[in-house]
């Protein structure tokens, strides 16, 4: 029997019972669609996180004060506080050949006021290097000037949102604002860049690091961003940073260095695992469709017993009967999968309309996998009914009217 004839015969048998066939196709379509949509959401989350991290800048290492718990070693004694990471430490790191730039960062919160307007915002103390490391862009004016970082000056750069809230459409350049107890002259406004790593760069005021330290009366840094000379230099830079700090801190390993790559690949792995497990859960809904297919095919076999007997009488071997019924299950699954894919694209389209900033993309492998799993489900659950049909005794099948 030719493949084309098998397909035609099975398709005709299926269309003979349209309600039942449509129900099965619907079940399969929902299963396939949920696998694809959930995979697309997981994939979207992965892309989202990757994008967030890349907005941090390239070849970046983050130095934090305090030992990371995962590096092991003896636990700190009771009451011991980690040594501060100082501005001098940061500047020392910059002397290294594998390090291109260093941006020390102090963070605090203080009211920013101009005339009668006042807003409490995040104050970021840093140096001119932050501009390149964070890949910032200016809307107006310029960024913090180069110069001795240990000497604070009274200038500041405002985030886009902060500027609008205090100055509206007016140009703030050259105006003096009060931050905490000090006065700063505005020299620039950041362009809109959006959020990165949870910090809204639109809602900050950036001042020289020494000024911020004076403002918050601290000598420690929140963290130091280090830009390595290139991708290959990242691991070397990490070692150098740890060595340098250990020397300066009397042999104590009391900083943690996070590389962006490591962070990214960890997140990547976690999110991929999440995507796969979510898709796996959705695949369970496919097995529901599979069980439905099995039941309906069992009914079909018992309803078409005489047909099976007749096919045997006119020369079909039992293997052929098996193939015919399996073909029906396969056709059901494939049509279901096709509708499922359409449904999935409709769903992801709706999601991307509702949440435009979240990147929902259907990965090509998910489409292939969904169709494959659908077909597999149809065949696995189709085997039992098909076998039952193939095993029918032709004489008894024909003696039933």
């Amino acid at each position: 029997m030719k493949v084309r004839d098998i397909v035609q015969y099975s398709a005709k048998a299926l269309s003979g019972y349209s309600v039942r066939t449509l129900l099965m196709i619907l079940a399969m379509a929902i299963g396939v669609a949920s696998v694809i949509v959930l995979t697309a959401l997981g994939e979207g989350a992965r892309v989202f996180v990757t994008r967030e991290f890349s907005s941090l800048g390239t070849y970046i290492l983050i130095v934090l004060p305090g030992r990371s718990e995962t590096t092991g070693g003896p636990p700190p004694l009771l009451g011991e506080t980690p040594r501060e990471l100082t501005l001098e430490d940061a500047l020392f790191l910059a002397r290294n050949s594998v390090v291109r730039r260093v941006a020390p960062i102090t963070v605090g919160s203080a009211p920013v006021s101009w005339k009668h307007r006042e807003r409490e915002v995040t104050i970021l103390g840093s140096t001119e290097s932050l501009f390149d490391i964070r890949q910032l862009t200016m809307a107006q004016g310029r960024f913090l000037p180069a110069g001795d970082p240990t000497r604070g000056s009274g200038v500041c750069v405002l985030g886009h949102k902060l500027k609008t809230e205090i100055f509206g459409n007016q140009s703030p350049l050259g105006e003096w604002v009060r931050i905490g107890e000090r006065r700063f002259r505005i020299i620039g406004v950041l362009a809109k860049k959006g959020q990165s790593l949870g910090l809204d760069m639109g809602d900050v005021a950036i001042v020289p690091v020494a000024s911020a330290q004076a403002l918050f009366n601290t000598s420690g840094l929140f963290r130091v961003l280090v830009q390595a000379n290139g991708r290959d230099a990242i691991q070397k830079a990490k070692k150098t940073i740890l060595n340098t700090i250990r020397k300066r801190h009397e042999g104590e390993d009391d900083v943690t260095v996070i590389t962006q790559d490591a962070l990214l690949s960890t997140f990547d792995r976690i999110l991929l695992a999440m995507t796969l497990s979510v898709a796996g859960i959705a695949a369970i809904s496919l097995s529901v469709a599979g069980i439905l297919i099995m039941n309906v095919m069992l009914i079909a076999v018992s309803q078409r017993t005489t047909e099976v007997g007749l096919l045997r009488a006119i020369g079909a071997p039992s293997r052929q009967i098996l193939r015919l019924f399996l073909a029906e299950s396969a056709i059901l699954s494939l049509i279901g999968a096709a509708f499922g894919i359409m449904l999935a694209f409709l769903g992801t389209w709706a999601i991307s309309r509702g949440y435009p900033e979240f990147p929902v993309t259907v990965p090509a492998w998910a489409l292939g996998a969904a169709v494959f799993v659908a077909l597999l489900t149809g065949l696995i659950f189709g085997v039992l009914p098909a076998k039952r049909a193939a095993r029918l005794d032709p004489v008894q099948a024909l003696s039933r009217r």
Binding site: M1, K2, D5, Y9, K12, A13, G16, T306, E307, G309, L310, L311, R312, A313, I314, G315, A316, P317, S318, R319, Q320, P394, V395, L398, R401
Partner: protein, 225 residues
């Protein structure tokens, strides 16, 4: 060409066994016209099913054209049924969702015949049975006689050597029954071996040879003429 020796067919029913056929010895040569008769439950259908390779004997040897059929695999038996044997049933057994033409085409589809050839052979067969107007009709749109003629067209479309008919007129009125018998006898005139189970003594008389079964045994055989 058909040689049955010491054929036995047993059905277990409850704790007992029913001997549907016992010690059947029987030969049919090519081109014969055999009527199989006997009371209900005497094993007529069972005999026909064994000859048609739909059923296997529990004992004995059935050779068809010198070939021991009990040795054949399922695939080989199916191939014999497809190419050498045509069945005609009391209840027609047409597939209800398929048209007359599609029902007739089915054996050729199973055999993998070329679609173009299928079409022309179906057309030829149906028109020779006066059904060219009914090609597209489904079985429920046909009369009993028409249905049986479609079934005969299906049974003969592969040009078999043997046609086995189990009470082919059992569900028909007299006139369409006669029509069907004439078609079958016409096949026999063209050299096809015809074996027909019937309860009707008048029909039995038309056959050149009559075999009578009682309780699974051959009680009378007029023998080859």
């Amino acid at each position: 060409m058909i040689r049955l020796s010491e054929i036995e067919r047993i059905f277990p029913v409850g704790g007992e066994t029913v001997h549907a056929l016992s010690d059947v010895n029987f030969t049919v040569s090519k081109g014969e016209y055999v009527a199989i008769m006997g009371p209900s439950g005497s094993g007529k259908s069972t005999l026909l099913n064994i000859i048609g390779l739909l059923d296997r004997p529990d004992k004995g040897v059935y050779s068809l054209e010198g070939l021991d059929t009990t040795e054949l695999t399922d695939d080989q038996q199916a191939s014999v049924r497809r190419n050498k044997i045509g069945f005609v049933f009391q209840f027609f057994h047409l597939i209800p969702r398929l048209s007359a033409a599609e029902n007739v085409e089915l054996p050729m589809i199973l055999a993998g015949t070329d679609p173009a050839e299928r079409k022309s052979r179906v057309l030829e067969a149906l028109s020779s049975y006066g059904l060219s107007e009914r090609m597209k009709h489904r079985p429920d749109q046909l009369s009993g006689g028409q249905r049986q003629r479609v079934a005969i067209a299906r049974a003969t479309i592969m040009r078999p050597d043997i046609v086995l008919a189990d009470e082919p007129t059992g569900n028909l009125d007299r006139s369409s029954g006669t029509e069907v018998i004439q078609i079958l006898e016409n096949l026999n005139d063209n050299g096809i071996t015809l074996m027909m189970v019937t309860h009707d003594p008048d029909l039995g008389k038309r056959a050149s040879r009559r075999v009578r079964l009682v309780d699974g045994r051959i009680s009378a055989d007029t023998g080859s003429p």
